[in-house]
């Protein structure tokens, strides 16, 4: 019901999203009909925010302001502290950048047929935007809100101001036009968790930061002898699908992914793990040759 109220507030009496009031797109709907099929879905369809349509997708999705926003936001969502690295140290911003440049960001395989109605929460996501578009629009509008309220973009605010903004976004309390702010926050937080805890081949969880925090040693194959050791620690070196020193795919897909596109590059991660010294789930160091 929450979403219906929002709808009424914006005076879309028939519950339908047309072109947004603050956006000069001549035909958002016709553009979005094919959004799932075309790489140009990252274009903003002539949105008149001082930023004209962008060029073709580059391997890195975020522009400088967007990168600053995401780095600052994920730093508050999972901060560096006494327990270890936070989201920034784990490469979560790079992970999200790669995901948005890839099939996830472009909503590949997602049903994007018009007409779009907001509907009830039980009916799920109904915005005419790909995840990449939600980020692009959402970041612009959160930054605009911050400039108005605090005189600076989100990334320039003090940590407690940033936390306050994030809480307001989470509560659906900031007007981001046709994007409910809790939807924007939900997507950002979901992708942040993913980047912190997914296999390092995707560019986040750098140096196994997320898995070291929780004590998950990675996708191991065989626990047959260990499953019955009730209550006992499990000690093995951390390992990724890419090995102990994993590679990442810059388009945000796995090296064997079916969406592996032309130009998919692999770059050796700046991981500190080497075969000669492997940290284990209990903090021990395993000598070489024990893997």
């Amino acid at each position: 019901m929450k979403k219906i109220e929002r709808m009424d507030k914006r005076n879309h009496m028939d519950g339908e999203i047309g072109a947004a009031e603050d956006c000069a797109s001549p035909s958002r709907r016709s553009f979005l009909v094919g959004a799932a099929f075309i790489s140009s879905s990252l274009l903003l369809g002539g949105c008149s925010h001082g930023e004209s349509t962008r060029g073709p997708v580059s391997p890195h999705f975020f522009g400088p302001d967007e990168g600053n926003f995401v780095r600052a936001a994920v730093d508050r969502l999972i901060p560096k502290d006494g327990l270890g690295p936070g989201a920034v140290e784990a490469g979560v911003d790079a992970f999200i950048d790669a995901q948005l440049a890839g099939p996830f960001g472009q909503a590949v395989g997602i049903y994007m047929q018009a007409p779009f109605h907001l509907g009830d929460e039980e009916q799920g996501y109904q915005l005419p935007f790909t995840p990449a578009q939600v980020y692009r629009l959402g970041i612009q509008r959160v930054d605009a809100h911050c400039r108005k309220q605090f005189g600076g973009a989100f990334a320039q605010l003090k940590p407690d101001q940033q936390d306050a903004i994030l809480h307001e976004l989470e509560g659906g309390k900031i007007d981001l036009g046709e994007i409910p702010s809790d939807d924007f926050f939900g997507l950002l937080w979901q992708n942040t968790k993913e980047g912190f805890l997914a296999d390092p081949i995707y560019g986040g969880n750098r140096d196994f930061a997320g898995w070291k925090l929780i004590g998950y040693s990675g996708p191991r194959y065989n626990y047959l002898d260990d499953v019955g050791n009730f209550g006992k620690p499990y000690e093995r070196p951390y390992v990724s699908l890419g090995g102990t020193s994993p590679v990442m795919c810059r388009f945000g897909d796995s090296p064997t992914g079916r969406f592996r596109g032309p130009g998919c590059e692999y770059a050796r991660m700046p991981a500190k793990t080497h075969y000669d010294a492997l940290t284990t789930t209990t903090g021990k160091v395993w000598p070489a040759g024990t893997l």
Partner: protein, 586 residues
């Protein structure tokens, strides 16, 4: 123009569990069988290999092992007076695309339904009176009994190498098994899986509060196993990647790990992938199916004539095909007439999270590694005065502890920030959850029909789902969640977090891929689309498989019964092929 292909004896729509069973059985009987699969070819090597299958982001989160909504989805609303909107992303349930179907990515939680489940209306009216069934609840008997299906359950379990402990052999209650189950002819083919720390704690706590826990029957092999077709399966290693993944180890029963190595060698069997069936063709009188139309990857259309057509797609896809092919009378909720789309049902599940004092290592798991209490399923307990019929099981499933999606943190954990990080650090290895897995009855206003607005990739109208939970289900779910909370309290813990499911059904959070009904089986053609042998009442050479024939959904996972019904129907088809007549005369 569609190209017309040479006729086959039997065409199967889909190539998952039921198609594999029907194909194996009918090719043995000499029929020339063709399966048409909308997705691609997949096999253990290379598609499910350990080098890449244990990838939570790619498969479980980005859903690369499921059907894409862009090609096939449905529209959804809770009530008939609402505007249905398309399910744009998968959430509540996860149908597959590709050979093996959902049999590739299931957990392997394998059940028989209770004898009383098959006689739900008759039994409930006898025990509690007609008033116990509220207006608008359209439950009915199945037209088949547990005793009739028992040999076929047995056949399925020995095909799959189910690991478990019998609770009732020929009427004699067996210590260590489920004392509430219907009588079975013999023990499971394999002993139960080893227990893990969490299932051990659940077992102890459930006994302490007076319930009867037992090891869940698992289609994850506890030992190496050579199945009834001679196919060798490997021992499960508890890698923790069953549900939403293919099995790398030949340990989880799937068409690939149990049937296909034998079936694919047969000269009288063939299959085509990327062959999406869009219509069932009928003769001009509408009395006989003449074949199907399918579309290949390039959009080319083919007519595949066949003597028999068997719908083996996922539950709601079978119903969609019937509706777009204009076969049978579509269900109309206003007049409560018609059968195609009638009695759609689902599952009502809720959870109780427990953060234990003991370290659990939740990542050592298997899809059906669980300990279960069945005291409150079906009619295993007296419902007098409870305000509902039906029930469900309470289980502690230790499926894997995968880091992104399987965090079961205590109540009051901050949603993000340093507090969340601290909780994850302190609690991940110690936290688990119990599932209450409840039945959903069928109702007059829960149904499937065609959407008036939205279309799929092939220009067909989307299926439209109208579905909500009713008072009976909410009362049942609260009762189950309270009992699970009793068990949780008896586990030495640092916090419990009951998560009852309240309010309307939502298409968003994953619940179960246990969608049922829409082409119900039964003894009365006014309320069922197929007869008790899964043969269409009005079209004797058309058959419907899968959970689409369930007249309502009992409190167990459906696959065991889906498999047993396929074997049961295959025997009926063999009789039909000798004498092509309706097996039940109206």
């Amino acid at each position: 123009m569609a190209r017309k292909l040479p006729e086959v004896d039997v065409v199967l729509v889909g190539f998952g569990w039921t198609a594999s069973i029907i194909a194996q059985e009918l090719t043995e009987a000499g029929a020339n069988v063709l399966a048409l699969e909308r997705g691609g070819w997949r096999d253990t090597v290379p598609d499910f290999s350990v080098t890449h299958i244990q990838d939570e982001l790619r498969y479980a989160v980005r859903k690369q092992i499921f059907e894409e909504t862009q090609r096939s989805t449905l529209s959804f609303r809770n009530r008939p007076d609402q505007l249905a909107l398309p399910m744009r992303d998968l959430g509540s349930f996860l149908p597959a695309a590709g050979v093996g179907g959902a049999g590739v990515h299931w957990n392997g939680q394998n059940w028989r339904f209770l004898p009383t489940d098959f006689l739900l209306r008759t039994h409930s009216e006898q025990r509690y009176g007609k008033k116990a069934i509220p207006d608008g609840m359209t439950i009915q008997d199945w037209g088949v009994t547990y005793e009739q299906l028992e040999p076929y359950y047995d056949k399925w379990e020995y095909l799959c190498g189910i690991s478990g402990k019998a609770g009732n052999i020929g009427g004699a209650i067996q210590p260590g098994g489920n004392p509430f189950e219907g009588p079975r002819r013999r023990e499971y083919p394999l002993p139960p899986l080893k227990r893990c720390a969490a299932t051990e704690l659940f077992d102890k706590a459930a006994r302490e509060v007076g319930f009867h826990p037992f090891p869940a029957p698992a289609a994850n092999t506890s030992r190496p196993y050579r199945n009834t077709l001679g196919v060798q399966m490997g021992q499960c290693t508890f890698c923790g990647y069953c549900e939403w993944f293919g099995c790398a180890n030949y340990s989880k029963a799937s068409p690939q790990s149990t049937i296909l190595p034998v079936l694919l060698k047969k000269d009288n069997f063939s299959f085509r992938t990327h062959a999406n069936v869009v219509r069932v063709l009928t003769d001009s009188a509408g009395k006989r199916a003449t074949g199907v139309v399918y579309v290949d990857q390039d959009g080319k259309e083919y007519i595949q004539p066949a003597q028999m057509v068997v719908l083996c797609a996922f539950a709601q896809h079978n119903v969609h095909l019937l509706l777009v092919s204009k076969i049978g009378t579509p269900y109309d909720p206003a007049s409560a007439t018609g059968v195609v789309g009638r009695n759609y049902a689902y599952q009502l599940s809720s959870d109780v999270n427990v953060t234990c004092k003991e370290r659990l290592n939740p990542f050592m798991g298997a899809g059906a590694l669980g300990q279960v209490v069945d005291d409150f399923n079906g009619d295993n307990f007296d419902h007098t005065g409870k305000g509902f019929i039906g029930g469900g099981y309470i289980a502690l499933w230790n499926t894997g502890g995968r880091p992104i999606l399987q965090q079961y943190l205590p109540e009051g954990t901050p949603k993000w920030g340093g507090g969340w990080k601290k909780a994850l650090h302190e609690d991940y290895l110690y936290s688990t959850h119990m599932q209450c897995h409840g039945a959903v009855m069928s109702y007059r206003n829960n149904y499937l029909d065609l959407d008036p607005t939205y279309t799929d990739d092939y220009g067909n109208p989307l299926l439209r789902l109208t579905f909500d939970f009713y008072d009976n289900e909410h009362a049942m779910s609260k009762f189950l969640t309270d009992r699970a909370t009793d068990i949780a309290r008896a586990i030495p813990n640092r916090g419990i977090n009951p998560k009852p499911r309240k309010g309307h059904y939502s298409i968003v959070p994953y619940q179960t891929t246990h969608n049922t009904g829409g082409a119900a089986m039964g003894a009365d053609p006014r309320t069922s689309f197929v007869n008790p042998f899964l043969q269409a009442w009005d079209m004797p050479n058309l058959w419907v498989m899968g959970a689409s024939v369930f007249p309502q959904n009992p409190g167990y996972n459906p696959t065991g019964t889906v498999g047993a019904l396929a074997f049961w129907a295959a025997d009926a088809m063999k009789r039909y092929m000798k004498n092509p007549q309706p097996l039940v005369q109206v």
